[in-house]
Amino acid sequence: MSKLETCDLRLYYGDLEALQGISMHVEERRITALIGPSGCGKSTFLRCFNRMNDTIPGARVAGQALLDGQDIYAPDVDVVELRRRIGMVFQRPNPFPQSIYDNAAFGPRVLGLARAAPPWNRRRWDGMRERAGLDEIVEQSLRAAALWEEVKHKLRSSALDLSAGEQQRLCIARVLAVKPEVILMDEPCSALDPAATLRIEDLMRELQEQYTIVIVTHNMQQAARVSDYTGFFWLGRLVEYDQTAKIFTRPAQELTEDYVTGRLG
């Protein structure tokens, strides 16, 4: 079974059909890239999976989006839990204006994921017990985001003092701290320099062993380098979706060929 799947998924902003009947599946523990020009719907499509479009007034979804075969838009879906299972990393690193530690600990604290305090003598042991569990979670997430070595000696310092690349890895750590299954990345490297970009790409390859990753990117070379599958979007339509090597060596659609060879805008 695919990890994520859409069946004739459509999205409307009011009367405007922004996504036209998208049917595709995302393989588990693979990296799937979504490419296409600006405004073609790839980010909109990405946001369907964690229902971020719900926050946009007038946005309406039709068709199906499934996580492990379950309807993401079913009325009884706990959206908070959905967004724990499907995490998101944004184009501009957006750490909270708090310490590095508190950024990574935020999700587990809010969701109560740290080791529970014993029922007796809660007042005395509560804080310490919670912290011990959190410490582990924070370290694990920062390690998994390849950031631990750089920040382990300054966990209490402000996240905003980190470089852009480090901040982005902290945002990834924040997502990992709540043990997601899927990581959505919306142009995660656009705001980063080439060296930081390569580090993120390397990290993606490591993460792929445990998580399903979907990345929206403007950078075709990045899609070609990093992903296993690529979907090409054009004007709200999924034009072609196939193994990355195939998309970049012999695409089936002429439109895809024109785009990847740079003949389209």
Partner: protein
């Protein structure tokens, strides 16, 4: 080393393995084709001819591998030259396979007829050809321009033997016109063995290009 580089290196290693595999298939084809000629064995000859299909398929496998690496890894410098060289090298290996197949066909035509003369120079040419194929691929693996150069130089030995065979067979034909058909076939065998060495020289030129970036023509 980054994971990206590791993945790329694995892809390049896979490419090298496939080329070596193809090289071994081609060496075997030369050796078996010659065995068919020497032992007048039509069955072995037919196997060589049938085996050429696999050699062709393998060549396209390698090209596909190269296409994928170029599209997904954006290779530069030495890596780019290695991949481009690989495409040329397998084309040459595939042509060598065709020549071996051609020798097998001639073996079928010659089978059942008495040998014009004991085969001495032709087996020597076939042996040198195999050694050259093997050495050229060693040079490719090791990025060794010196070995490539020394291997290509042996083309001169092949040309000399080819010349010798021509003069010898000419005297047979002039002496007795009834030998012309068999002599002609043997001339063609010699010609194919000579062309094999030319192809190996091309491989060696590609190895030098891959290792140094220099385009050198070998004319021995």
């Amino acid at each position: 080393m980054t994971k990206a580089r590791e993945l790329f290196d694995r892809g390049l290693a896979e490419l090298r393995d496939r080329i070596l595999e193809l090289g071994t298939m081609v060496e075997t084809a030369i050796s078996q084709a010659f065995r068919a000629l020497r032992e007048q064995d039509r069955e072995i000859a037919r196997q060589v001819i049938a085996g050429d299909e696999q050699i062709n398929a393998r060549r396209y496998d390698v090209e596909e591998c190269c296409l994928r690496l170029i599209a997904t890894q954006q290779p530069t410098a030495r890596d780019l030259r290695a991949i481009v060289a690989a495409i040329h090298i397998v084309t040459e290996l595939e042509r060598i396979g065709d020549y071996a197949s051609g020798i097998a066909e001639l073996a079928i035509r010659l089978a059942g007829q008495p040998f014009l003369k004991p085969l001495i120079d032709l087996p020597r040419m076939a042996q040198i050809d195999q050694e050259m194929v093997c050495a050229s691929l060693e040079a490719y693996l090791a990025y060794d321009p010196e070995l490539a150069f020394n291997t290509a130089r042996r083309d001169a030995e092949i040309d000399q033997l080819d010349d010798q065979i021509y003069r010898e067979l000419l005297t047979y034909m002039l002496d007795d016109p009834r030998t012309i058909p068999r002599a002609t076939y043997l001339l063609w065998v010699s010609h194919k063995l000579e062309r094999i060495a030319d192809r190996v020289t091309n491989i060696c030129e590609r190895v030098v290009f891959m290792a140094t970036g220099e385009v050198k023509e070998f004319n021995f």
